[in-house]
Symmetry: C2
Subunit: 318 residues, 2 copies
């Protein structure tokens, strides 16, 4: 039985899976991303999460054909390194030998890929994108990531294609966490939305968002916190999510006008948590911006939910 | 000697060329687009322009290996038809058998292509895009058209890729001639800019734009009219061109963030007329919006100038 591992490395959590030859999940495990021991602590956390997933599948990590890692930051698979993964731990700046260190922990070979790109590939090959030859993957979470599939495969450009979150939806608009102005992510990224919520609170606006966060013992406004606030009809949450939906719709429609892809798949923490009703709202609000509005692209929620990253990472092991 | 014809069909003029085997121009001709005899009059105009270009090359049109036509509207090369070319003559709605009618006039076979796409291909194969494998062509004129070249060839999507002029640069922004809000073309297209200039005049703002237009006996604010007004430091012209440059910069940078292409080529009536200084301004104003600003794409003015459309059309004859 040939099993492969996949690890989705995020700023909040590490998700590990062990899959069989036909991509079925045999074991999985999820842990909070260790924040207090730098990159070394994160790599140990990945090894532990994978060990638990392997145990659930009835094997050792050294029995796996290999493990793929979907990582933020600058990923160099040939060198086996990841640099500038500030989202994961703030001091992750220089190149860390993730492949070599994780191999030492797990006893199996390691392949690295960009987190958003592997998640897009997973949706394309195994999920909502299976019927299509061209696709835009949009991952709506802490930031807004994108993946471009054209002619049946990924389009990488010079290595950095897919930054849909940093398409400009409003010139001279809101400040983005990336430091630029008017990016889609400045309106739709969870980090930017939390900053805006704090700003509005300071100006005297009321919201239950932070009370819900404390009640749930969360360190930040997670997707679950936003979802609960929306269920309660919290005015600020509704306004900020409306603003996010409008920005996503304008940015995604712009990308469709440029590329005329067959389909758009929307996932990520917020996309998955808010699900179909919000994906359908994005689709409706895209329509007035579509240049060829007589045949809009298909728009689907990510079918693999929050496993798309880990399943896509497992696809790196070929 | 194998010669080919190329015709760039525009709303203002028809440009014809006759080229040799290595794409050198052997003859050319340019006439105003006939406006008073519907699509049939336009096709006759194309035949006459081509006949003059052929004559300059010392041949008859029937001696040509064929002629390519780059056309606006919905172009169906297999059917040999063009429909919805309202820019050319307002009553050009249904499918017109351009290939068959033009063959009857010229005695040579006819290939049809989308005007912006053939111009992009010309820059890619013969002009400023020759060193690159991926490229964004931006044609800044009456509207703002775009062409996408990836992996050494055109990316067409489902047939309508490249509508960079209808990427959203300002949600809920200015009304575009296409009827949508906040498109790049709503700020940068010559038609939209003229409407905005008339609106500002009505509100009492002063400008020399329309006096220059009358002095030059032009029916509209042509690229030459804008250039002259800029040379005279006309305040409204400067403001509207600044606004156009900012919109172009934001939209092109967004497209680069999504596709990470190697190069951008900027042509079209205004792009060609205003030339390098304005292309360099667009490049500078793109920079703050580029996600990977450490290695921006190359940005070039179209090397073939206002012949890129006709030369690209001639490339349709293979």
């Amino acid at each position: 039985m040939r099993l492969r591992g996949g690890i989705d490395l995020g700023g909040t959590k590490i998700q590990a899976v062990v899959v069989g030859p036909r991509h079925g999940v045999r074991g999985q495990s999820r842990i909070p991303t260790p924040k207090d021991a730098g990159p070394a602590g994160v790599i140990q956390g990945m090894a532990e999460a994978l060990a638990t997933a392997a145990q659930n599948a009835g094997v050792e990590t050294s029995d796996l054909d290999g493990v793929g890692v979907g990582s933020p930051g600058d990923v160099e698979n040939d060198a086996g390194t990841v640099s500038r993964a500030y989202n994961v731990v703030p001091d992750w700046d220089g190149a860390v030998e993730v492949a070599e260190l994780l191999r030492a922990h797990t006893g199996t070979r390691v392949a690295l890929g960009n987190d958003v790109r592997v998640a897009t590939t997973a949706e394309f090959e195994l999920g909502a994108g299976r019927p299509y030859q061209s696709l835009l993957g949009v991952f709506w979470g802490t930031g807004v990531g994108g993946g471009v599939m054209l002619n049946g495969g990924p389009w990488r450009g010079r290595g950095a294609a897919g930054e849909i979150g940093h398409m400009v939806v409003r010139r001279n608009g809101a400040r983005c966490p990336c430091g630029r102005d008017g990016c889609m992510e400045a309106y739709a990224g969870r980090r930017a939305m939390e900053l805006e919520a704090r700003r509005r609170m300071k100006h005297g606006d009321k919201t239950a968002l932070f009370r819900i966060m404390e009640r749930k013992s969360r360190p930040a406004l997670t997707s679950g916190v936003w979802a609960t606030a929306l269920e309660h009809g919290d005015k600020m949450a509704v306004e900020l999510i409306d603003r996010a939906v409008a920005a996503l719709a304008a940015g995604i429609a712009s990308a469709v006008n440029l590329l005329d892809v067959e389909a758009v798949v929307i996932g990520g923490g917020l996309g998955t948590r808010l699900g179909t009703p919000y994906v359908e709202r994005i689709q409706r609000e895209m329509h007035p911006h579509l240049f060829v509005d007589s045949r809009p692209p298909a728009v689907h929620p990510a079918a693999l939910g929050d496993l798309s990253g880990a399943l896509g990472a497992a696809l790196l092991v070929r």
